[in-house]
Assembly symmetry: C2
């Protein structure tokens, strides 16, 4: 029996859309009421999570969609997963919710076993973890770790802070508050707070009117597809971008302490980075003494067929920090070098030091992915889905440009000729029973759960063929 | 029957400490193991939340302490509260944990009722809320709201962004990424990310080695105690500090878009601001077009005898934004002016837009505080406790300097002559069965739950008298 059937014996077998417009009348009514207390403008519909199951999300009108967006790529195992319900009802969970500990000062007896479960799922080469609350938070905590590490290499790990550092920092001035930068890439998305916002560079609307640090953005390689037919051009593109990275690090007015990159830029358009590029960044950052951070917030937890996408590149020696959130529900960063443990306590610290309720969910997700072999399944289903998309591309080459994600599980995307056509396709897909997201201006991105199977792919492909033919 | 007895018929009647040192041997062993996967250096002991109950926290050695620190002021109703356990077991909670929605794009039917419960608890004058994940996150989200508001007043709320803004922002440069500041106060604590870190100014260890925005810190009034005997001097102190605030706003090299203040600086030493001072800041910020933000992360949710501490000052017109976290478990900011709703969607936005599991807990806490009249109880118990501390102060004036928090519920603090004596007192109190926290260099701060009653105060006072006599 398939994993989805084991989890969800009553999962719908087809989507059902019974309203002529989306959102339907009940959603519209509900969103109008919600809009009085919340910003409901970005809502696609009002969801009914009681009725949602497995790969199907149900809305307030009873429409049931096959979900290939999965809460902006953050549902790992499907809706109302029985194993997660078990975790949610466990005594550890009740305690975590009711007696939320300040994990730094008064850690719970429950903490060590939970962290061990999470660490069993750590990327190759990483064996330590620090916990945060969201992708933005995870990245900013990683920046703090990187800045402390960078300065402690300059100062000496065990050296005390100088009086000048201790006084200037209280004025937000050097040397206590040093001018240091994090280098990121154009079209990157790493979050929307102020430091994470400064490395984010995908759309103006994310950042307008907010002060930012004057940090540099290099160029992320833009490949020609299919990859196999464009090897030389793409290698040249990698080298062009690497040169820009190196030049920026060497010439930027503020010392570059860290570099952060998504192995696949997701919000920014599903731009993939090659193994060669990601490895060359390791060589370069090692040479120049820059901390190497991989942002796996959207790419992590299995959807590419590896637990963590950058494992495809087998970077050696391993990168310094790997951040996570979304599908793992818990957030934070993995690391391996003990020098990233700050030289004193209370430097990487806050009241809660993470969310134990979400750590328990993360532990349960990790265990399920491992026990049910969901990485293998995702690779297999992704290959199946990709082949079907290839076939559609042969038929409609204009509507399936730059098809991306071959051999990367279900982490698949392609471009439409215009933003208007992309938007029309997404809208039509909903009416045909499939909830799918876009990214950047032209792309469709597929982000189903890890319980998405061939039978779901068939339903999606059928709806897609219909929508594309109607475009 | 008292509220504590209703909630906790089996609450211990006295603390029991059976190890000669704290942490005891089982805690030491557990923390050593935990230290291999987590920064356990700041831990006081390893806690056993299964056995903790009401106002008593139990550690791995079976020591049971009367808890006046309550997870750094973030437990509202006591450990294993039956009403919160009920909320934790509710179907809404299971859904929130298992099917965590992207609340902006796919809001749940459960969301509106939860937000309404939270809004019933909003500070006077505020009727809207936006959700975040922690105190630091809440403050940074409030900064984003303030910056958008400030710039939209300059630009015109409905005016489109210019091409120059849309392009410069992608380089982190003006005018799209404007140079704007938030003014805060010396000794303030507002969080430890990069913007929240820039307004935090209590201890160097929170900030060293991290880049900061060049934002100004004004002076927070430092009063003479008892307040009733020092009215003229304290009024002069208020005026001195107000002058500094005004001068900084008018002269700072970067335009000051917002001001953030704690009504009582907590981490920074339990420094209180007078009604006069907080109202004068409203007058000043209105006059100078600066957004007024009150940080109620530590002071909120009842511990001062009001739902929100700044309600004591009855500021008119109401402040612009009020941030919360900690004891409310959910985080975010309250507001009332619709111009703080950004002119376009996706400007105040992120994947999750808050944590529905914690919103459910917040709703349950709000309901309990209201139904059980816990504000009145906290005021009454606080007065009782304060009188007992006054009596101890008469006996040991050197050990109870600047006793603060009269008529502010149980939100009470005082100073020891030296940091070493303060630390010794906290250590001795633990051995005498009371878990108590410090703040700044010299202060003891009391932060019990809202179910702390006269009987608990008696136990604490007895332990305190013993510890002080042994100092």
């Amino acid at each position: 029996m398939s994993v989805a059937s084991q989890y969800y014996p009553n999962e719908p077998t087809v989507p059902v859309v019974q309203t002529s417009a989306i959102p339907g009348p009940e959603s519209v009514k509900g969103l109008e009421a919600l809009g009085k207390v919340f910003d409901a403008r970005p809502a696609y519909f009002l969801a009914d999570y009681e009725k949602s199951l497995g790969n199907y999300i149900v809305d307030a009108d009873g429409n049931s969609y096959l979900d290939l967006y999965a809460q902006i790529a953050s549902i790992a195992l499907g809706y109302n997963n029985p194993k997660l319900i078990e975790a949610a009802k466990s005594p550890e969970m009740i305690r975590a919710l009711v007696d939320r500990p300040a994990l730094g000062n008064f850690p719970s007896r429950d903490l060590e076993p939970i962290l061990k479960k999470i660490l069993k799922f750590a990327p190759k080469g990483q064996d330590k973890v620090w916990s945060g609350l969201s992708g933005a938070d995870a990245n900013e905590l990683a920046f703090k770790a990187a800045f402390m590490y960078y300065r402690s290499k300059e100062r000496g790990y065990h050296k005390e802070f100088s009086t000048e550092e201790n006084t200037s920092v209280m004025r937000n001035a050097e040397p206590g508050s040093p001018h240091l930068a994090v280098l990121s890439f154009k079209k990157a998305f790493h979050g929307r707070l102020f430091a994470s916002g400064s490395v984010t560079c995908s759309k103006p609307i994310h950042k307008l009117d907010f002060p930012a640090f004057e940090w540099p953005h290099a160029e992320y390689p833009h490949y020609q597809y299919p990859l196999a037919e464009n090897e030389a051009a793409n290698r040249a593109e990698d080298d062009r971008c690497l040169k820009i990275v190196e030049d920026l690090i060497k010439s930027w007015s503020i010392p570059v302490a860290a570099l952060i990159i998504e192995p696949i830029q997701s919000e920014g358009g599903d731009n993939h980075a090659s193994k060669y590029f990601l490895q060359a960044l390791r060589d370069l950052t090692s040479k120049l003494g820059v901390v190497y951070i991989i942002d796996e917030v959207q790419t992590g937890v299995g959807a590419t067929g590896k637990a963590w996408c950058h494992e495809w590149a087998d970077i050696q020696p391993p990168v310094d920090l790997v951040t996570f959130s979304k599908k793992f529900q818990s957030a934070g960063y993995f690391f391996h070098d003990t020098l990233f443990v700050p030289n004193k306590p209370y430097r990487q610290f806050n009241t809660w030091c993470g969310e134990p309720a979400r750590m328990i969910i993360a532990g349960a997700i990790a265990q399920e992915v491992q026990e049910k072999n969901l990485l293998e399944q995702c690779s297999r289903v992704g290959d199946y889905l990709f082949a079907k998309l290839e076939a559609l591309r042969s038929k409609y080459p204009q509507k399936f440009q730059r098809l991306r994600g071959q051999s990367r599980g279900t982490f698949i995307a392609w471009d439409l000729p215009t933003g208007a056509e992309r938007d029309a396709l997404l809208k039509s897909l909903k009416l045909n029973g499939c909830n799918v997201g876009g990214c950047a201006e032209l792309s469709v991105r597929l982000r189903p759960t890890l319980t998405f199977e061939e039978k779901h792919a068939d339903i999606f492909i059928e709806a897609l063929a219909k929508s594309v033919s109607e475009l």
